[in-house]
Symmetry: C2
Subunit: 163 residues, 2 copies
């Protein structure tokens, strides 16, 4: 390795700190799920959009399976078939299970892998870090939508900056 | 410097790539502003929330001024007083101006500064990188809300994954 380059390079964020940032977001999203009245979680929507439960199921289908593919190298097709049984508790339990799985898988990704290119779910090609940003950003995006649903239902959402 | 540690450390994302990621988000947010009918941009809201124009003005008040403080070291109070004159073009022009400013300021932040702690606007204490993630995440959050407004108005928003 070229030591001159190495000495001038300092990471802007470590893998561990990015994981903590992500886990903070997941904690907030969990509180948004919790804030919904159970009925509205599975039925309420605006402008023909999906319910917040359906968006949550989309989130289940992306980050955990995506990280699993990064770690194991095994490609599985994209699968959004999780059965929530119209139960908030089922969603929350699955949320916690996925958070735990995400944490464990993340720790297995060596730093040098973040810049590597892969094709997730057999169809989305990009670097590992760009895919991980997609997982995080997509969660923030849908959670923001959940905030509007809550406000429309007359419910105050958790503070955005509390993680 | 401890070369053993340096040799085992590889950044998960470079400053330049994180800036490109951010600029991609800003490009998408610009298209969301553009997608609003001018009247609705300044009047439409759901559940007592702010209009998308008001959220956009909040975004003006955070990232550009925040990065300016990181680069110059000069603290200024948080200021959300931008006058949009009820004009979409005024918002879009300011958006472009801020994007350009953000890009130029970002390039002046040395890599080793990202881990340093600062108190932004005299009140928000955290590392530079955590503040920058706040700028990006807060934009994604409000843009997600803008997507719901657009859907409620019967308008198809731009694709989330197109930057």
């Amino acid at each position: 390795m070229n030591q001159t380059i190495k000495e001038n390079t300092q990471e802007v964020i470590s893998s561990k700190d990015l994981l903590l940032h992500y886990i903070g977001h997941r904690s907030l999203t969990r509180r948004v799920i919790e804030a919904f009245p159970e009925k509205d979680l599975f039925t309420f929507s605006i402008g023909g959009m999906r319910t917040f439960a359906q968006m949550t199921v989309e989130l289940f289908s992306i980050a955990g399976p995506g990280l699993n593919e990064m770690v194991t190298g095994k490609t599985v097709p994209f699968d959004e078939s999780f059965d929530h049984k119209n139960s908030k508790q089922v969603l929350l339990d699955k949320w916690d299970e996925e958070t735990d799985r995400i944490r464990k898988l993340w720790m297995k990704i060596p730093d040098e892998q973040f810049g590597e290119t892969l094709t997730l779910f057999g169809q989305y090609t990009g670097t590992v870090i760009s895919s991980i940003f997609y997982f995080i950003d997509n969660e923030i995006h849908h959670r923001g939508q959940g905030y509007v649903y809550l406000r429309a239902l007359g419910i105050e959402p958790p503070f955005f900056y509390e993680r």
